[in-house]
């Protein structure tokens, strides 16, 4: 017989207050999650919460990706020597070096360039910030800054792939996919890995691909305007009969499945329509930023006259709302145009523009997470694909620099106030405790309770990992210590 009444029942209930009920139940589930191995993914329930391998410091992640290559010694890595040498040729000692990636001097002038910024120390830690980041500076003591990152390519797409997927070739699962695969997600009505962007990083969807991991772990884009997810609702004239249309299809699907016992996918597909329906209501609710107080909206600058800043503010606020709903991994891309921080010809303008768009919303996000008690369990990461040269390019630009750049983390049990490693006096190369991207990934996974070598997926006869060959990585010191 047909089971229409019960299904209709279900949807009625879910359209009402299902979301909050479900969330409570799911958070409870997370607390007492039954041990389940990583590799045994139930196709009917792929996002089910899985136990971490080791004690976690953070449960969720917000990755604020800064694309284009921010010049970190223009933002938060104070280099007095560079300021002193402004306009002078690069000292010979910096040229005599056999760099392994590309040839960074080739497109630069033999002239060092300092920014026109005012630098000041902030917080108890006395951390330096330039006047580009007045808001982030207020969180000086909460940041854990790694000052000695290096990349393996000086080219956007490979370096962006590296930061997001651990390899300079595209086609591997992204960090967010690995984390969601490893831990599942606390909210079964929303994707476990959500992306927020206006313009995404160079290299396209490979940056948030699940690659060979199951599709449930791919990044899903949430829009910060309009319907939060593409195809969430049918065209308006068909919306009214949506449920009735679906009920007919599901009735036939059940008849079909009953004749084919043992084919799990058929049941899975019936269930996926239910989830799609639940997603619709839950996602729509997430997108309702008007539910936030005016003060909160203003803090994030969601109505700012700088529309780019307002858009980024909405993304940051959405990120917090998604985290609050239990989504495991949220990643935002900073830019509203294709330029990002990529200031080849006019570095000052690029950095003024991008800092103005992102500084206040990011600071608001940190404050907001802290006030809501979410910062302790949410790891916030700020990182680009590489840094920029202290040498001048073109009129007043800077070229890509994979040899040395800063990233920062906050919340999620990282060592607040710490600074790790250093670049040389002009900010060109990492010289103290240089850190490959692999170490950053290993550190992030460890913070989440995932042992980097135990987080693997068998693919074409090989145990694939985010961090590559077992024990080929090291934790970045003093981040989790």
């Amino acid at each position: 017989m047909l089971k229409l009444p019960s299904r209709r029942d279900f949807f009625t209930r879910s359209a009402g207050g299902f979301a909050s009920v479900a969330l409570g139940a799911l958070l409870a589930e997370e607390l007492q999650a039954s041990p389940e191995s990583n590799t045994a993914i139930n196709p009917l329930d792929p996002l089910r919460v899985r136990l971490p391998h080791i004690a976690p410091r953070a449960k969720q992640v917000i990755f604020l990706f800064q694309y284009g290559g921010p010049s970190t010694f223009d933002l938060l890595d104070y280099k007095p020597e560079l300021i002193k040498l402004d306009g002078q040729p690069v000292p010979e000692s910096f040229k005599r070096h056999n760099d392994e990636v590309g040839g960074v001097f080739n497109h630069c002038k033999d002239e060092l360039m300092a920014g026109p910024w005012k630098w000041a120390q902030h917080g108890e830690s006395g951390r330096w910030f330039s006047d580009l980041l007045p808001h982030t500076a207020r969180h000086a003591d909460e940041l854990c800054v790694v000052r000695s990152m290096f990349s393996e390519s000086s080219n956007h797409a490979p370096a962006t792939y590296l930061m997001n997927t651990g390899a300079i070739l595209g086609g591997r699962p992204s960090l967010g996919s690995w984390v969601t695969y490893g831990l599942g997600s606390a909210n079964q009505n929303l994707p476990g890995y959500v992306l927020l962007y206006q313009v995404a990083g160079l290299g396209g969807s490979a940056n948030w691909s699940n690659a060979f991991l199951p599709a449930a772990f791919q990044g899903t884009q949430f829009r910060h305007e309009g319907s939060p997810v593409l195809n969430l609702s049918p065209p308006e004239r068909l919306a009214e009969v949506q449920r009735s249309t679906l009920d007919f299809a599901q009735a036939l699907n059940r008849r079909h499945a009953e004749k084919r016992p043992g084919v799990l996918d058929l049941d899975g597909r019936i269930a996926s329509y239910e989830l799609a329906f639940r997603m619709q209501s839950e996602s729509l609710e997430i997108g309702e930023l008007s539910q936030e107080t005016q003060a909160t909206q203003d803090a994030y600058a969601v109505h700012d006259s700088n529309t780019a800043k307002a858009k980024y503010g909405r993304m940051c606020l959405l990120a917090r709302r998604l985290i609050e709903k239990g989504v495991r991994f949220v990643q935002t891309y900073n830019s509203v145009d294709k330029l990002g921080w990529d200031g080849h010809d006019n570095n000052i303008d690029y950095h003024r523009r991008n800092a103005a768009q992102t500084d206040q919303p990011i600071a608001a996000l940190l404050t907001d997470l802290k006030q809501r008690g979410l910062l302790d369990t949410t790891l916030v990461i700020w990182a680009g694909e590489f840094g920029r040269t202290p040498m001048k390019q073109g009129g007043s630009g800077r070229n890509h620099n994979p040899y040395g750049f800063n990233i920062w983390m906050a919340g999620g049990g990282v060592n607040a106030g710490a600074s790790i490693g250093a670049t040389d006096d002009i900010g060109l190369r990492s010289v103290e405790q240089p850190q490959p991207v692999k170490n950053l990934h290993a550190t992030i996974l460890t913070a989440l309770g995932l042992a980097p070598d135990d987080l693997f997926f068998e693919h074409q006869g090989r145990q694939e990992r985010l961090t590559g060959v077992a024990q080929s990585w090291k934790l970045i010191p003093n981040v989790l210590d």
Binding site: L2, L44, P46, E100, N106, H107, S153, N155, H156, A157, P158, L169, G170, G171, Y197, Q198, V199, A200, G201, L202, G203, G204, S205, A206, A211, A215, A216, R223, V229, L230, N231, P234, P235, R237, L238, V241, S244, T245, L246, F248, L252, N253, H256, K259, R260, P261, G262, V263, D265, I270, S272, Y273, L275, A276, M279, K338, Q460, G461, R462, V469
Partner: protein, 1020 residues
């Protein structure tokens, strides 16, 4: 001081006298040939065989050694072993005679009487024991290679030798090395074991000029000038070197002449480390039989084949065998003989014996396949499912062979065909349809990771790579032998060589597009990362080729030896070396001669006309009217004519750069900046340890890829036929006989039916690698035709249906789903290939891609990195023809598990996620298809205006909807639900629409629902 036997008998006599006096204690030094013969032939071998294991260099039982005359005379604990000239007093003879019960040697194993007699004679004759001579050169090939320096030509002379089979010939002026590896040959006045005093050699000078020999000691040559002439440099004939030398002979040796030199007299105690062989004037100096001896007598006693060798003769190049048969095989050594039980290494075993017994034909036989499957089912005690009904069968066949649903009239024809070969008729029709090639092509393009764009930052469009896609379609439709298909893709350029003479050759060139399918970072050069890019391309080609054709995971041994399979890291680079010469060609001319000629005529006619116009233009007065206007007209006309000139038809492919390729080296840990040992092109060492045999077809290419292609398609290769038949099997059952089609290694799946796999592979090769015949044989089996219905008993024994007791329920892949939606809605348009079609995608997705955004803003400098949306009507073609852009997969297809285009995809995922439901329910694309479907049904069923509008058409409409979407009639309950939906929805839509529009909208809802049925997206 020198002498030659020929010239200086006095000196020789003196020497011999000296020797006799000095050497009296250690035995006579002047040996007769007979004595030498006796010792070398009977005594030395006897001592070696019976005595030295206990009284030799390794062990000295009783303190006795018997490996030199000195040690035998010295004797052991019981005194001297021999007394020369008196066998009776020699302990050795006593011992071997077993006279004394306490002294019997060799213990328990008395020598033969003949052997005892030989020892007795030898001792009585004076115990002649020549010391071993050191042979610097007689017939040993490494000698010449050891003389690494000098500009002269040197060679081996094989006919004109002094002794043995080789002499060395050196042309002016010299070959030399003052420090030959490991040479430190002691020269002493009284040589002990392994010490020497005399050098002897034979030489001969051809042509004019002189011959010279130099001896280096302690790495140094004799001084150039010295009086008297320095020892160590010896000349015969004219000395044209300007260096002082001891004159051996005033005349150059016209015939072989033996020279003996007392090196100790000339050089004193020293270590000889090198030689120089010289010639002056014209012709060559030939050298042979170069020896060092302790005494003249020892040298005299020497004959070829005796003595110690300064250079071990080069080992005969004996090919190393497979790891199964040869302990020298590198893989056997590397993994200590383990890992060899890998099933896919074993040769394909045809079940022909079994077959002939049963009298089957030699061709691929469906019966034979069934027999091999039924055997396993019977063993497991499983009763297979019955044959599926015809409606299910035709749906299954149509999807599997063409990727499209059957048309209602095709279903009706099949259901009504009562002839015994009704099924064969359908199969043959499907295999002959153009849609067959399109379906096969889609699956192959997955394996070779085809895309229309470069990937990475800019992701530019590749304007002509679609020619490769169309080539694949053509190849499958014409049932090109699969081995030829492989060869063309790997080495079409080496097969054709130059401009194509016919369409088959043009296709072979287009096939080299295979070598270009990987990602390509066009911005790498801006950042000096070309080396990285090249290394990535090489690795990618290697890994893809191994996966696609061999089922080997070569990607796993790029950084280290394979963790599980019998593959070494070197194997990866040996395979990589085949591609070392690959040079991308963006304009590989594939035009046929006739067209080339026509184009040339066309272009030259245009050229002539242009010349005429230019001539006219030149005569005009361009400063004044009317000349000014006329000149402008002419310019316009000229450029119009220029634009009409035809460019040769060209494809995106590859060739080799020339007759040689860059060296390939093993990269330490896979890092391109850390190259180590050089490797030559070679196949997996476990079976083919030697270097590959390569013959370049012309001077413009290396022939490497041709060699690779020929090896891959050789019948002895165990992998390729198994790999492809397994792929085709997977196409029909959802899972291959080997469940991991790109991994036939240790961690891959084992074949469920090894005998069947080998039967298919062997027959496939024998049938001329025909894919169509293979399909036909598989789909005609009873196994293929079974119901997919679940059966409790069988399911308990074999829940995963690995024994094939039923068909598997399978989900349509992304492209087949979209193509079905188009076919059912009546929108599907025929397409003959060509440039890819760009469907509309949401604007915000385009804007989200920086590279596309740059193009939209017109800032991509013509690099074609944008999205070039075609009119919507043009996009209703099979998904094969839609653009595959790496940075932005078409969202509708991506939702249904479109594979990544970075690496080879052997099998589509079929995940079930909520976004699929949203896409199929709500997307504008899906709604558009539903509207078209509704309109199609509407037009077919709705009576023309004016006829009775009162009749209820809904039963006919519902029947048509079910027939088109599911190829069946609705069941009564379904009919009721569907009619009910039409009624209720028409009512609801009536609020905002006319009656007929409301009915149409209701029908759209029904059609939308049909597209979301499991029955629509799964095949039984």
């Amino acid at each position: 001081m020198i002498d030659t036997k020929r010239r200086s008998f006095a000196a020789l006599a003196f020497l011999m006298a000296w020797c006799l006096s000095e050497c009296a204690l250690v035995g006579a030094d002047d040996f007769s040939p007979k004595q030498i013969e006796l010792f070398e032939k009977d005594v030395r071998p006897l001592l070696k065989a019976k005595c030295l294991s206990c009284h030799g260099p390794d062990k000295q039982a009783g303190g006795l050694r018997l490996d030199s005359l000195q040690s035998a005379l010295k004797g052991g604990d019981s005194g001297p072993a021999i007394v020369p000239g008196d066998a009776a007093k020699s302990l050795l003879v006593k011992a071997v005679r077993f006279d004394d019960p306490d002294l019997q040697m060799p213990p328990k194993d008395q020598l033969a009487a003949k052997e005892i007699q030989a020892l007795t004679w030898w001792i009585n004759d004076g115990a002649v024991w020549p010391r071993p001579v050191l042979v610097l050169f007689d017939d040993e090939e490494p000698f010449l290679a050891a003389l690494t320096k000098g500009e002269a030509k040197s060679r081996f002379e094989r006919r004109d030798t002094h002794r043995g089979s080789l002499a060395v010939a050196v042309s002016p002026r010299e070959k030399f090395d003052e420090q030959i590896a490991d040479w430190k040959l002691p020269i002493r006045e009284k040589p002990g074991p392994a010490e020497f005093r005399y050098l002897r050699y034979a030489w001969k000078k051809t042509g004019g000029g002189g011959a010279m020999l130099e001896v280096a000691r302690e790495g140094k040559w004799p001084p150039a000038k010295a009086t008297p002439a320095p020892g160590g440099r010896y000349v015969a004939g004219p000395n044209e070197t300007g260096m002082d030398a001891i004159v051996v002979d005033d005349a150059a040796p016209q015939d072989w002449t033996v020279v003996t030199i007392d090196l100790w007299k000339d050089l004193g105690d020293c270590e000889v480390t090198g030689l120089s062989l010289m010639a002056s004037g014209s012709g060559e100096t030939l050298f042979d039989a170069m020896l060092l001896g302790s005494s003249i007598a020892d040298l005299d006693a020497w004959s070829p084949g005796r003595g110690d060798l300064a250079f071990k003769p080069a080992p005969k190049i004996e090919p190393v065998g497979t790891a199964f048969e040869d302990s020298r095989n590198p893989i056997r050594k590397l993994f200590r003989g383990e890992r060899l039980d890998l099933w896919s290494l074993k040769p394909v075993v045809s079940t022909s014996v079994l077959e002939t017994q049963r009298g089957d034909s030699a061709e691929l036989s469906s019966k034979m396949i069934d027999r091999l499957i039924d055997k396993r089912l019977a063993e497991a005690d499983i009763t297979p499912a019955p044959e599926a009904d015809r409606r299910t069968l035709i749906r299954r066949l149509a999807f599997d062979l063409t990727g499209l649903p059957p048309k209602p009239d095709e279903v009706a024809t099949f259901l009504g065909d009562k002839s015994p070969d009704a099924l064969e008729t359908v199969v043959d029709r499907l295999l002959a349809s153009a849609a067959y090639g399109e379906r096969q092509a889609r699956l192959w393009l997955d394996v070779v990771r085809y895309a229309d764009t470069n990937g990475y930052e800019r992701d530019e469009f590749r304007p002509r790579i679609w020619m490769y896609r169309d080539y694949v379609v053509r190849s499958f439709n014409s049932d090109k032998p699969f081995d030829q298909f492989i060869r063309e893709q790997l080495a079409g350029d080496e097969i054709v060589n130059g401009l194509p003479q016919n369409s088959a050759e043009a296709d072979a060139l287009i096939a080299t597009g295979y070598l270009r399918l990987g990602q390509w970072d066009s911005t790498a050069s801006i950042f000096q990362e070309e080396d990285r890019l090249r290394a990535e391309m090489m690795a990618d080609l290697t890994n893809t080729t191994a996966s696609a054709f061999l089922g080997l995971t070569m990607s796993c041994c790029q950084c280290h030896d394979h963790k599980y399979d019998p593959l070494s890291q070197a194997d990866h680079y040996r395979l990589r070396a085949f591609f070392a010469g690959v040079t991308p060609q963006d304009d590989l001319v594939v035009e046929l001669p006739q067209q080339r000629q026509a184009n040339e005529q066309h272009n030259s006619a245009l050229g002539q006309r242009i010349e005429q116009l230019k001539a006219e233009q030149a005569k005009l007065d361009k400063e004044q009217e009317p000349g000014k206007t006329r000149a402008a007209e002419l310019s316009k006309e000229i450029s119009a004519l220029e634009a009409q000139k035809r460019q040769p038809l060209s494809a995106m492919g590859a060739t080799d750069a020339g007759s040689s390729a860059p060296v390939t080296r093993v990269l330490y840990q896979g890092v391109f900046r850390d190259p180590r040992d050089e490797v030559a092109p070679g196949f997996p060492s476990v079976l083919y340890p030697g270097p590959a045999e390569i013959h370049a077809p012309t001077e413009s290419t290396t022939g490497r890829r041709l060699a690779l292609a020929n090896w891959i398609t050789s019948s002895s290769n165990p992998w390729p036929a198994r790999v492809i038949v397994n792929r085709v099997w997977q196409q029909h059952f959802g899972t291959g006989l080997v469940a991991t089609p790109n991994d036939f290694g240790m961690t891959g799946a084992r074949p469920t039916h090894p005998e069947l796999l080998d039967y298919l592979a062997a027959r496939f090769v024998r049938d001329g690698w025909s894919i169509k015949r293979l399909h036909r044989a598989i789909v005609m089996t009873r196994a293929y035709r079974r119901e997919s219905a679940h059966e409790a008993v069988a399911a308990k024994i074999d829940p995963d249906n690995r024994l094939l007791w039923r068909q598997n329920v399978r989900r349509l892949d992304a492209e087949t789903l979209r193509d079905s939606l188009l076919a059912v809605s009546g929108l599907l348009k025929k397409n003959d290939g060509g440039k890819p079609i760009w469907p509309e995608v949401p604007r915000e997705l385009l804007h989200a891609q920086p590279a596309i955004l740059e193009a939209i803003e017109g800032k991509d400098d013509g690099r074609r990195q944008g999205w070039y949306t075609d009119p919507v009507e043009a996009t209703d073609v099979r998904s094969l023809y839609l653009v595959r852009k790496r940075c932005l997969p078409i969202p509708f297809l991506q939702a249904f598990d479109l594979p990544d285009t970075t690496v080879s995809c052997a099998r589509r995922d079929t995940t079930v996620v909520a976004p699929q439901a949203l896409m199929l329910l709500n997307s504008l694309t899906a709604v558009r298809y539903a509207e078209a479907f509704a309109d199609r049904v509407w037009q077919a069923c709705k009576l023309p205006a004016g006829e009775s509008q009162e009749t209820d058409e809904s039963p006919r409409i519902v029947a048509a909807v079910f027939q088109l979407a599911l190829a069946r009639d609705p069941e009564p309950e379904e009919r009721k639900l569907a009619q009910d939906l039409l009624l209720r929805h028409a009512d609801k839509h009536r609020v905002n629409a006319s009656k007929s529009e409301a009915e149409r909208l209701a029908l759209i809802d029904l059609c939308r629902a049909m597209f979301n049925l499991n029955e629509f997206i799964y095949i039984d």
